[in-house]
């Protein structure tokens, strides 16, 4: 099962590192990352494989949301099916 992690907010040092640390700690494999910085706005989209995750999906989502709150970023963790069903026929 794959999920999409999106991070939006003001650019700062260590965003990618801290998000990937949480992934690594829980055996969540990062498959692909795209990121862009427009002026000082940071947008990162990360595709991850959660089939071997050591914690339930909702806990992973909670931890990332917490990280987002602490860094003043918006972090969403969502199952990839939502995007597939909305944007592909």
């Amino acid at each position: 099962m794959r999920a999409v992690i999106t991070v939006l907010g003001k650019d700062m040092v260590g965003i990618l590192a801290r998000v990937s640390t949480i992934c690594a700690e829980n055996q969540v494999n990062v498959i692909e990352v795209t990121q862009s910085v427009l002026q000082d706005m940071f947008a990162m989209i990360m595709m991850v494989d959660i089939s071997k995750s050591t914690i339930p999906f909702s806990d992973l989502a909670d931890r990332l949301t917490e990280l987002g709150t602490s860094m003043n970023l918006t972090i969403h963790t969502m199952h990839e099916d939502i995007f597939n069903s909305m944007h592909r026929i």
Binding site: T6, L8, D81, I82, S85, M86
Partner: protein, 452 residues
């Protein structure tokens, strides 16, 4: 990899444009709970609902978390209680409402619909007593919603029921006058009521439905409005196309949630209701969509045409996105639940007459409208008769959910809070339809050809 633009678009819809799944509604048949001993029947009803729906709320929350989509309501609809209560004629059907209320509380849903009777051709056993008990039930329960179907295109309109419902609506408001007359907000009078509607207060589980079923109602007026705001200069054809595309995306999300809920709960998937259901939250309004199309204020001339276009495009876009479509499907115009409608009613651009015209081209009908507290019952019946006639002749669902604001006059306001919102008391035509209503009888079913 999924296109990053698509990902950001979805997230923006949820974060900034109020995209959500409005309701997952579990329909439960109570036909196997019939018993001539009322206490036994009530126990069976309570047990069956608790057994079937024990995981409904938790499953809804889990899906919401996994997919990152807010799922606002989890609800239950049941077989019209008049059918169950008919087996115990000597006891008040209100006891069934108490059982429904307890079950709803136990499983944690926010409404349970089905304290209902289908009387479009006449009163069957159980129907009359149930209708009589509605004011008491809606004033003493917290979660129970009630509906009565008074007409269909095939049967005509039962004018005895129309006359009766005018009085019942008034009584519901009077009995809950200390709580902003909320009793009347939980009662819907239908023509052509759908059997698989997931939305309250009119949801019930029709006799043609399976034992248990999952129906989902989507939402998303904010998303449609935002899409229109970005496309400033397109013509009406372009507007219709844009609404279709947006409705498609919204409905796909609803379909995904419905299938997932059905899989996790081991209950068959029924339908997705393709609806634009507003909330009092600013930005989540159907009226704002109409204004975004180019009307100065909702209710201006042109509103009916704009709404017809919107309603049709929502259906066309949504129908391909879902394997089974049903319920009410279309744009809702509940006045007190829609920030733009509330504003329009306050400033006087939106009147009851215009709303009546609008109901001819959109789903549902005169919904959540506060009227003066001294409006006579026969005037309410007259409004019901007009609305039912629009539904009957046009082969569509129409409904009336009026709230007589006891002790209040035009310009004063009611405030229910939450999803039901609040709004100003609207002007009603004062000339009396009393003789017409008192005649009783039935309006014959209309001709289905020679349409003009």
């Amino acid at each position: 990899m999924i296109n990053s633009h698509d990902i950001l678009e979805t997230i923006n819809m949820i974060d900034n444009e109020n995209l959500d799944v409005r309701t997952i509604t579990m329909g439960i048949s109570l036909l196997d709970c019939v018993d001539s001993d009322q206490k036994t029947a009530c126990d069976k009803v309570y047990d069956k609902i608790c057994r079937y729906a024990s995981n409904l709320v938790r499953t809804g929350e889990d899906i919401s978390k996994d997919y990152g989509i807010p799922i606002i309501n989890k609800r239950i609809s049941v077989t019209p209680i008049s059918m169950i209560a008919a087996a115990c004629p000597s006891k008040s059907p209100a006891h069934f409402a108490q059982a429904l209320d307890r079950a709803a509380k136990e499983v944690g849903v926010n409404f349970i619909g089905g304290y209902s009777a289908l009387v479009h051709k006449g009163f069957g056993p159980g129907d009359y007593a149930l209708i009589e008990s509605i004011p008491e039930v809606l004033s003493t329960t917290s979660f129970v919603c009630s509906s009565v179907n008074v007409g269909t295109t095939k049967a005509g309109i039962n004018m005895d029921a129309v006359g009766k419902m005018g009085r019942v609506i008034r009584e519901c408001a009077e009995k809950t006058a200390d709580r902003d007359c909320i009793g009347a907000a939980k009662l819907v009078v239908f023509c052509n009521a759908p059997e698989d509607n997931p939305f309250m207060a009119g949801a019930f589980h029709g006799p043609g439905e399976p034992d248990c079923v999952i129906n989902v109602g989507v939402s998303g007026p904010g998303v449609v409005r935002a899409a229109l705001a970005k496309a400033e200069d397109c013509d009406i054809t372009g507007i219709a196309d844009l609404i279709k595309k947006t409705a498609f995306k919204i409905t796909r999300m609803g379909q995904l949630v419905a299938q997932e809920a059905s899989r996790r709960l081991f209950v068959p998937f029924g339908i997705v209701d393709l609806s634009l259901a507003p909330t009092p939250a600013v930005g989540d309004s159907v009226a704002y969509i109409l204004e975004e199309m180019g009307l100065e204020a909702c209710g201006a001339h042109g509103t009916t045409a704009a709404l017809a276009l919107l309603n049709d495009a929502v259906k066309k876009g949504g129908i391909m996105a879902s394997s089974h479509v049903g319920g009410l499907s279309g744009a809702f115009i509940p006045v007190t639940e829609d920030a733009g409608m509330i504003e329009a009613a306050r400033r006087g651009s939106l009147t009851l007459n215009k709303l009546e015209a609008m109901t001819a081209v959109c789903s549902v009908g005169l919904d959540m409208i506060a009227i003066p507290g001294d409006t006579p019952a026969e005037v309410i019946s007259g409004i019901i008769a007009d609305e039912a006639a629009i539904g009957m002749v046009n082969s569509k669902t129409t409904a009336v959910r009026l709230i007589p604001a006891i002790g209040k006059q035009v310009g004063e306001e009611l405030n229910f809070g939450g999803l039901l919102g609040g709004g100003p008391v609207m002007e009603v035509n004062r000339y009396s339809p009393q003789r017409f209503i008192q005649r009783g009888g039935r309006i014959p079913a209309p001709l289905q050809s020679l349409k003009n």
